[in-house]
Subunit: 99 residues, 2 copies
């Protein structure tokens, strides 16, 4: 049976490909696919972004090779940034107990 | 209800702290805690490493600031590396279908 960490890694891959395969190049997210992924999978984060152009800005930041597409490595850097931000909240606001 | 991606991000944080809180500094993984995490959570990956000093080498690679401890950002770089490696297998060996 896979561990919790292995399931989490599998989820990153599955969620990325669920949206990347919707249109155009199947191995990358177009701007529209990224928007759909963020609207469905990062609803709370997107709601906290008051700027209506937030997805476009995130796309520009993530698309480090400038091809108008977000590949898996670029997508993971978003997940890492959000996870580190969440972890800092966790460290400062929650008493750390073994779960 | 949290999305699959949010659950995955939460799992990264929870798994890290489950092991980091076992001894010494609660916000970082010691070598022993990293070994325990990898033995329990990355069993298949560790089994594929034939070198008995694999955990020590990984510790050295991850511990970019050289303090003998792995913090969350350093831990996430391991998860990212493994996820990218897994994703490349996924791209080359599995027909990509929406799930």
């Amino acid at each position: 049976m896979p561990s919790e960490l292995e399931i989490a890694m599998e989820s990153l891959i599955k969620v990325f490909h669920r949206y990347a395969s919707k249109e155009g190049r199947s191995g990358t997210l177009s701007r529209r696919e990224l928007r759909e992924l963020m609207e469905n999978e990062l609803t709370n984060f997107l709601r906290s972004q008051k700027d209506p152009a937030a997805v476009d800005k995130i796309m520009r930041d993530l698309d480090t090779n400038g091809d108008g597409q977000v590949d898996f490595e670029e997508f993971v850097s978003l997940v890492v940034g959000l996870s580190i931000a969440c972890e800092q909240c966790y460290q400062t606001t929650v008493a750390i107990k073994p779960t």
